[in-house]
Structures are given as C-alpha cells and as structure tokens.
Symmetry: C3
Subunit: 291 residues, 3 copies
C-alpha cells in the first residue's frame, strides 16, 4: 500500500571528502523536501560490500521506519541489478545494488515481502555518464518512495529469493575451541567476533585463552572495558550481543595485530598452559543488575 515516508537512512562508501553524499542529499531535498536524511556512515572502505552489509545489519534494528538507502556499488553501470526491497509489509524499503549489500539487513528485518528491479527510468535523473547511481537512480527512487510512489511503479517485480545473498561467516567448535572470525574493528580498536558468549567453551570461566595468528593470550571476561586492568586483553559482550576482544582505553586490534577477517580461537586454559602471556592483575567487578 503506497504511503508517505519521512526518513531516509543512508549508508555508502562515498566518503565525505568529495561532495557525493551532499549531492545525493541535494537531489532528495529537491524531490522530497519533507524528508530527513539520517547518515549511518559513508566511510565504508571503497568497494567493500561485505563491510557495508555488516554495518547495515548492525544498525538495522535501530533505524527509523522509512527508506534505507545503501550504496557500495563497484559494479555501477554494469549488469548488476538496482533494486528496492520491501520489508515488514512496507514499514521499510531498502534501496541499493543487488550485490549482497542489502541481504543481511533484509534478513535482520524478517525477510523481504516484495522486491523490484529499478528499471522505470522516469523515476531516475537523466545523466551524462553511468558512474553515479546514488545521484541518478538510488537517491531519486528513495525520494519518490517517500513521496508515496508505490514500489510496483518503480520497476519490474523480482523474486526476493533470487536476490544475491550476503556472506556471513559462521563460527565453529574445533578441538574444544571456539573458532571465530573478526567481523569488525571499530574506531576504538575493539574487535567484534562472529559469536555470542553462549558459544564459548565455558561461558562462566573468568579467564580464557585466545589465539590469533602467532599470538596466544590469556584474556579476562568482563562486562565493561573499565573493569579491565591496564593493558589486560578482555572479552566483553558488546552492544550487539557478540563477543568483542578489547583493551581498556587502548586498541585491542593494535595490541594483538588483528584485522577484519582474521581467525580468532578461544579455549579453556589447560593445566599445561604454563604462565599466561599477560600477567596484569585484574579485579573483575560484579555485573550490576545480575546480567
């Protein structure tokens, strides 16, 4: 059912040094002046569809109802499809390239209820070149959706099951250790893993052994960064419910040489483990609220 929408949540790899983002917002402002654009981030590394899809998925449960405009689009102007995907029976529509970028967010929102390929070019801007689909296709289409244009007007229906899936790595148990992958390293150097605390070999252990590359470290479970001793590597449940490797007021990624995609395994200390690599004294606070 067509309806007026008033928020566009915008993520891209455009950066903010060039005027790309501002031009897309100018187009939206001209076509649908009532809309507020909320920027998630525009600093997805250039062409990094996976990083974009993970950031979008993390944010998805918090975005306001309306349109989600996502552009990480190395295949711009080629045969990759431009799509709009409706979720939650129209509470949200995701607009972007069909290259896996939208898929994890669509799944987070409960799956697609409709999808179209954006071939109705009367809703696009005429363009001298085919390299800026955010300005010429995705931005205008998002604005028209906010003006109440029905999804079906924007192109031809496609089977949501045929949209390119995202690739989200799974953790596994191997020789008693939880083998995970680094999904995200944030500004503070915290390294988010693709596993929750219930997947740990011993969810109640205060200390665990972490292996990444050639590094082996004893790490402390903690509820907050500030509970860790100086220089102590910790494992917290982050704000998305996933395990995160961290150091208080410093970068765990720098400390351990971690990068996105690295394998991190976590195991219970064995008696033969020898002295821990880090011997910083740690006093774990009792979590407030009993969580």
């Amino acid at each position: 059912m067509p309806e007026r929408r008033d928020t566009i949540t915008f993520l891209s790899d455009y950066g903010t040094v060039d005027e790309f983002v501002g031009v897309v917002k100018s187009v939206v402002r001209s076509l649908a002046p009532h809309v507020v654009v909320v920027d998630l981030t525009h600093e997805i590394p250039p062409h990094d569809v996976r990083a974009g899809s993970l950031a979008l998925a993390r944010a998805m449960q918090y975005v306001a109802p309306g349109v989600v405009l996502a552009v990480v689009d190395p295949g711009v102007g080629t045969e990759r499809r431009a799509v709009a995907v409706e979720v939650a029976d129209g509470e949200g529509v995701l607009v972007g390239p069909d290259n896996g970028l939208l898929a994890p967010a669509v799944a987070m929102a409960g799956g697609a209820t409709r999808a179209v390929e954006l071939v109705a070019d009367e809703y696009h801007l005429p363009s001298p070149g085919a390299t800026f689909a955010g300005r010429d296709v995705f931005g205008p289409v998002s604005a028209h959706l906010c003006n109440g244009v029905d999804l079906g007007e924007l192109g031809v229906p496609v089977d949501p099951a045929g949209l390119l899936p995202g690739i989200v790595p799974l953790s596994r148990i191997e020789d008693g250790a939880l083998v995970t992958e680094v999904l995200w390293i944030d500004r503070f150097g915290n390294a988010q893993l693709n596993a929750g605390s219930d997947e740990l070999p011993d969810p109640d252990a205060d200390r665990l052994v972490l292996r990444a590359g050639t590094a082996t470290r004893t790490v402390a479970r903690a509820r907050a960064y500030g509970e860790l001793g100086v220089g102590q590597v910790g494992l917290v449940v982050d704000s998305y419910g996933l395990l995160s490797v961290c150091v208080d007021r410093a970068s765990a990624a720098a400390e351990l040489g971690l990068d996105v995609g690295d394998v991190v395994s976590i195991s219970v200390p064995s008696d033969e483990e020898g002295p821990p690599a880090s011997t910083s004294p740690v006093t774990l606070g009792r979590p407030r609220g009993g969580a």
Copy 2:
C-alpha cells in the same frame, strides 16, 4: 523580491574534526530554525579556493533552491570582500568570500542577477576576533536570507561583473593530441579531466594512448568501471559528462601517479606505437540504451 527560503547548502574547508561546522549550523539553527542545512563537503583542502570552486560547480545543478553557503577563505579578516550573489532571479543566493570561490557556480547557474558586499553588520554576530567569518558573518547572513531579509538590506550593491572570476583551465589540441588537466581526483582514485568525449581526437576509437608525466599507457574507452579488465586503465565519461581516467575497483591516480593539476594528453595510437604498455584483455560491453 524578498522571500522565505528553507535550505542552506553548505561547503567549506573547515573539516569535521574541529567544531567549526557545528557552530555555524548552531548559529543558523538559532536564527532560522525552519532551515535544513545540506552539507556538500567540508573537506576541501585548507585554503584551496580552486578545489572548493570546482566542487561547488559540480554540485550546483543539483542543489536545492535556497542559499548556498561556501567558505574557503584564507583572506578572512582582511580586505577581501564578503559577498552575497543572487542567481536565477532569486531562486538561489550564494554567500561567501569574493575570492573566486563562488564564480564557477554562479556561471553554472546562469550568471548573477544581483550582488551585495556584506557590510550591514546588524546582520552579523559580534565577535571577539575576526578569524571565523563563517560563524560571525556568512552563517548569520545566510540565516537572515532564509528568514526573508532582502539581499539589498545586507550591504551595498556591487557590480556582478566586478566579482573575482574563478580560474578554470581549458583543454587544447596540440600535435593532434588532446591536452588536458586533472581537475579532481575522487575518493576512488578516478581522475576527472577538463574535457568531454567529443573533444577526443577520435571519439569512436576503442583504444587511445594516454601520456602523463613519464607514463604512457594504452587506455580503453568504457561506459562503466566494471567493463574494464583487471588492472586495465580506462577512459569513461563520468557523471558530469567529463572524461575520467579510471581503473576498475582500484585507483587510477595511484596507478599512474596522477595528482590534481597534472597534464594528461590523449592521442590516437600510431602504427609505430609498438605494443601497448598494458595488455590486459578487455571486452567492451555495448552501452545500454544506445548512448
């Protein structure tokens, strides 16, 4: 004719690390709460009037009606004039220093219809120092324009023909080659040249020879980055209708050592050219829509 405006499009070299941009927006929010500010970019290199003027000109045809606030102002507090320039009979007003920053955008908008020097300081903020005209002069003036204050109230009329012109380099043909200059290198490493495809020595040639500094490369014409083979340097018509040197999913600027202002010449391959420097196989797709 005085009228209420509701959009300020904002470009500067303030960066976003300091709070300059936020303070200007706070001033606007206090004086004209109905206004939406659209940021084009604030990462123009410090003091780089030319880069600012080119970014503004590129964006100009897409900005929403209202005020354009542009501040790249190395001469702040000196004798350079602060001006407001009306274009399109009032559909837009550009506000900023008279140092060439606004000139290409004014030209893109069809030329100035009126201009004033901003000397009516009842529309400025009092200030302890003269170093932040965005906060104290340009921002408040933009807000007052949005509140319906007539341009003429803001200062004394100046002859638009007397405004400092921008400097836009022209391409030329020399010994059969198109000699261009790099106008802009974007986040993705694409290098925009100051020429369109109709200026090429052979607009229909699939391959051309590009010379920049000591590098000579055979380059392929393409419609989209994704049509190029891995590592192949290409020449596309970008989203502004200008030629752009590019590499698929990589930086052409890094590949060729290009910087803004560099000279790039493009010629038809001669029989004596020898084997091309790059021999990546390329299959050019047929442009969709016949363009």
Copy 3:
C-alpha cells in the same frame, strides 16, 4: 517545568567511520521525530575527555536552545554516573557521563540549576551489552527530554556541586613572561592558548618573543592571518577572544612543533635578545573598526 524541545546538539568521540553516530540519531529519530540533531563534532580523539570538554565549552554560547548530548565516555558501563544537567532554568539540558566532560560547558552556561543521575531505565533501551551508552542511555534520554519528559522523571536528583569538575589550566606570569598552555590545535594548525591579549606583558607591543620547547621566535601581533608576511609567526586574538599562534596559509603547529598541552611563554623583546630568529618582513595593517 516540562517543555517540548526541538534541537539536540551532539558531540562525541565516536568518529564517523563506524555507524555509532548514525545509530544514535536513528534512535532519536524513532523516539522524537520532530527533533533536529546538530552535530558539533564526533572526531574528539578516543577517550579524550579534556579535548571534548574544551570543544563543548567553545561551542556552548552558540548552541541552539534544547538538549546538548555529549559522549566521551571511557568508563562506560562502570561506576561513573550518567547524568543530565539543567542550565539556565531549563533553556538547556546537558546529557552525558559525569566525568568532567560537561563541566566547562555547564560553567559557560552560568552553572547548573538542577541535575539527575539517569537511573530510570524505563527511559533507556534494553541492551545486550553495556558498551554503547550513547545508543542505549544518553540518546534515548535526550529524545525523551525533547518530548517533554521532566528532568526529575529520568532519575534521582544529585547535587550539581558534586558533579566532577573539568580541569582547565590557568595561565600565569613568571619572570615577566606570560606562561600559557596550548588548549587546541585546529585543522589549520592554529594553536589556541589559554590567555587573552589583556594578559600579555605588553598588550600594545607589535612584536613579542615566543618560547616553546627549544624554539624561540619573534612573533608579530596581527588582527587577521592575512596580515602576516610569508612564513611569519603571528599572534592573533581568535574568534573566542583567546590568543592564537598562527602562520598565514600554513600550520603554526607544524612550524613550531606545537602540540596540545605544550607550554608556550610570551615575553617582551629585551635589548639583549639578539636578532630575531625569523626576519620575514611584516607590514601590519591597521585593524578595521578600531578594535
């Protein structure tokens, strides 16, 4: 008295590479759609409470009435208090951690009239982990304040006098020299000092001697950067009324090796001073307006 507010001014150390800021804004947009968020900056260095408190204090007199949301919060999830502090009898409310971040801004606004610790968790978001208080506590509380929820509903009253003070260094006179500290180095390399021009040993002197680390330089008083000769180090009164070390169209911080927190002393040239280290010719313009 509860009242509807429509602006949230937002400062943090979240950066804009991750989606933290966008998620907080999404939460605000969902809870209080009428609110406009004005970003001051999100590039406060990670965990740098002092830098955040100074940026907030600089901006404070310009922020629009409403809520100020400030998050530089290394102690997130620990015993540090989350607070909301009312200033100017309700014209403004500052929301953030009680770690000194808010204190200088509160002082700039004339002091606190009320304060609460934010323990009423019905105004927070439920959260799987305690590491993102901007999203789960400070953002939602700011939105509820804008919706007219009274400060008193958000938690338990605390004595404003018991809030953690900020640390603002004081300048002093020592052996006839003004001894200052670098408070801030901006994007342009200007170094703001913690002293006004009336504290100079000779406020009317055209030239002074500046010492910082091992460097000794003769510096020129100027009203604007553009009044300085090429390469000449100058001392201007900046837009906050404080002395600032500068170089025209170049970075004074780079020129003198200055960093935040460095000591800079300023004295009157003595007859035994010898030739100045810098001999660039300088013609000082007469300040306009007689300031």
